[in-house]
């Protein structure tokens, strides 16, 4: 009598002593057919497309609804010495920023969040540039452009102007990959 090739009775008999160590009921084990797996991949593809479209739509909507921030005076900026920096918040208390007065006396302000993983950058006087302590990234103090390291884009630039001897922050420009 020929044995059915799909007969697993010999295998089950041989593995019976080890079932106690790894007890599971093979008959109740969920079996996924190829068709079910194909359908699952189709649903995953649909979900990924919906996710990409939804994220892009939300980003576009947020861009349309963005409001220009109000101007704010930076306290203590008037007495800032050349080649030094000052931390402040703009446009809200949650948005940390840094004001830099370079050696030539010019004022530059940027968002303090590193564009890599949002670590707070600091102004290094010796090298006269903005540096990120987390992953050794650096930005140009005059332009905010990436000098080296993992940051993918420049720092958010904050427009500043002088009014009656005081430094005012008048706008925040999000960084973009392409400039010029």
């Amino acid at each position: 009598m020929s044995k059915n090739p799909s007969d697993e009775s010999d295998v089950r008999t041989a593995t019976a002593p080890f079932q106690a160590e790894f007890p599971y009921d093979r008959d109740e084990e969920a079996q996924v057919t190829r068709r079910e797996f194909c359908n699952f991949l189709g649903l995953t593809s649909a979900a990924l497309f919906a996710g990409a479209a939804g994220f892009a739509a939300k980003a576009a909507l947020d861009a349309r609804e963005s409001v220009s921030p109000a101007a704010a005076r930076i306290d203590g900026a008037g007495s800032l010495a050349p080649n030094s920096s000052l931390n402040f918040s703009y446009p809200t208390e949650r948005d940390s920023a840094i004001l830099i007065r370079t050696a030539d006396g010019a004022y530059h302000a940027y968002g303090q969040k590193c564009t890599h993983l949002s670590c707070p950058v600091y102004y290094a006087r010796e090298s006269q540039r903005l540096e990120c302590p987390c992953h050794e990234g650096a930005f140009d103090a005059a332009t905010g452009d990436v000098l080296y390291g993992p940051p993918p884009r420049p720092l958010d630039a904050i427009e500043v102007e002088m009014r009656d001897g005081q430094i005012w922050a008048i706008g925040r420009n999000p960084s973009a990959k392409d400039r010029g």
């Binding site: 194909c38 991949l41 990409a52 994220f55 892009a56 861009a63 564009t115 993918p152 960084s175």
Partner: protein, 73 residues
């Protein structure tokens, strides 16, 4: 072959994962000009997935190329 269908579907899903990651990165960078091409690319991948699932049927020895069932001789 079933394996070919499954492999292609898996690769398309991986490609869509990359596209989704690029979409998120572009949105965070406010690089709005590339969002639409990325969404279109993801849509094309989804259409290809649908076409593979709906129309690419594995061949069978029981059927001829025109779809008739072979006579068992």
């Amino acid at each position: 072959m079933w394996q070919a269908r499954l492999i292609m579907l898996v690769m398309i899903n991986i490609a869509q994962l990359w596209i989704l990651a690029a979409t998120v990165d572009a949105a965070l960078a406010r690089h709005y000009s590339v969002l639409l091409p990325l969404v279109i690319a993801s849509g094309v991948c989804f259409v290809i997935t649908l076409s593979i699932i709906k129309w690419w049927r594995p061949t069978s020895r029981m059927k001829t190329s025109s779809g008739y069932v072979r006579e068992d001789r």
